[in-house]
């Protein structure tokens, strides 16, 4: 897994480098699906409403003191902190909770919950905050004017505003001063057919496997099976936003 997970584009490149006649999806390993299109300009098919990407996070498996997911996210998207926690970007964060009545302790990562009815999309004046056909909620930084209304509206505090000029951004996540951003559910991986987010990969590598990513619309996917079998909750489920990120044992 690790080899293929690290370098799927290499495989793909060689695959496409030959003559391509067949269109369709090729699965070379669990978690890695290569989409190939019989077209010379190698377009991928793009987001489809046949999928809805989501996550289930098992709070029991989230290990105390571990920040692997946060670090992986920061590396993946070149979120370089400047030692100013109040203005530095945080696409994913860990939260430790204590039940006020029972004292029960739980820990979980929180990021954009990729709602079906995202308040950030409702409030955005310029349609910069939008939801893709496959349920991923994103900010189009080409039209974001930096009004921060979405940050006011998000019930999960999932969004960050870019407070300074940046350089050396990752190709995975172009980002710049004056726009709002948040977890992209690693769309650059999804679009490339890599069915694993950076945070999930890191969590697995550390042996916790608290995060499971997958297609909520595919009844046979692992995530759908887990969600069907076990009880899970949405953060602020009272808002009826139908989040794409669900939590177990919270």
């Amino acid at each position: 897994m690790s080899k293929k997970g690290d370098q799927p584009s290499m495989e793909r490149r060689q695959f496409i480098g030959g003559t391509i006649a067949a269109a369709g999806a090729l699965t070379i390993a669990p978690g890695v699906i290569l989409h190939a299109v019989a077209d010379t300009d190698q377009r991928t098919e793009g987001a489809s409403s046949e999928h809805r990407w989501g996550m289930v996070i098992d709070a029991n498996k989230c290990a105390d003191g571990c920040t692997a997911c946060v670090e992986a996210c920061n590396t993946e998207h070149s979120l370089t902190g400047l030692g100013r926690p109040e203005t530095d970007a945080a696409w994913i964060r860990t939260v430790k909770l204590k039940d006020k009545q029972t004292g029960n302790i739980s820990r979980l990562p929180v990021m954009c919950q990729h709602c079906e009815h995202p308040p950030c999309v409702d409030v955005c004046p310029t349609n910069a905050s939008f939801k893709r056909a496959d349920g991923v909620v994103l900010v189009d930084r080409h039209t974001c004017i930096g009004c921060r209304y979405c940050m006011m509206a998000c019930p999960y505090k999932a969004r960050s505003f870019i407070h300074e000029a940046l350089s050396d951004q990752s190709v995975n996540a172009p980002r710049g001063k004056g726009c709002v951003e948040s977890c992209t559910l690693c769309v650059h991986r999804i679009d490339e057919g890599v069915m694993q987010t950076a945070c999930q990969e890191a969590c697995e590598k550390d042996g916790h496997a608290a995060i499971l990513f997958g297609d909520l619309k595919d009844p046979n996917s692992e995530i759908s099976q887990v969600l069907k079998k076990y009880n899970s909750v949405q953060i602020r489920g009272d808002l009826e936003l139908n989040t794409g990120v669900r939590y177990r044992n919270l």
């Binding site: 793009g46 993946e76 050396d168």
Partner: protein
């Protein structure tokens, strides 16, 4: 009335002539920075004059397809522009394409149009192994450069 029309016409012809010669001078110049991959290729993903005139439209179309619809591997991709057009400086490091004298800035400085792309997009090729998407298959360049696919990366 008539005379002013005629003199206007002469003026227009004169201006058009000036503009044409200016454009010709501009068009004949080779604006590919030395030491970039582009310098070793015959032309860009489209004929040079087409690219020169329409690159912004190509990129703008592509950006919506990619950001909004998740379509990757487009024929026109900004990161491909940068991979190919960034030159290598004396230190062996890639020069930012929006630096003085570099590929994008050379023309954009001349016409005084700020390339806003680079407020968000990186200006040098990304060499990290672990990046997905955006980069089109490099086999496109294989024939003309006879380099193995995916050199420099991975």
């Amino acid at each position: 009335m008539r005379s002013s029309l005629i003199s206007n016409r002469y003026l227009i012809i004169l201006l058009a002539g000036l503009l044409l010669s200016a454009m010709q001078a501009f068009g004949e110049s080779a604006f590919v920075t030395k030491g970039s991959k582009a310098a070793s290729l015959d032309n860009c993903v489209a004929p040079t004059d087409v690219m020169r005139r329409n690159h912004m439209d190509f990129l703008k179309h592509g950006r919506d397809d990619t950001v909004r619809d998740g379509v990757r591997g487009l024929e026109y991709s900004l990161s491909e522009c940068i991979d190919c057009h960034a030159s290598t400086g004396r230190s062996g490091k890639a020069m930012p394409v929006d630096a003085e004298g570099e590929f994008c800035q050379e023309c954009h400085g001349y016409v005084a149009v700020s390339p806003a792309c680079f407020q968000c997009h990186r200006t040098t090729p990304e060499k990290m192994g672990n990046n997905y998407g955006y980069h089109k298959d490099e086999s496109f360049f294989v024939e003309s450069t006879s380099q193995p696919a995916g050199i420099q990366r991975d």
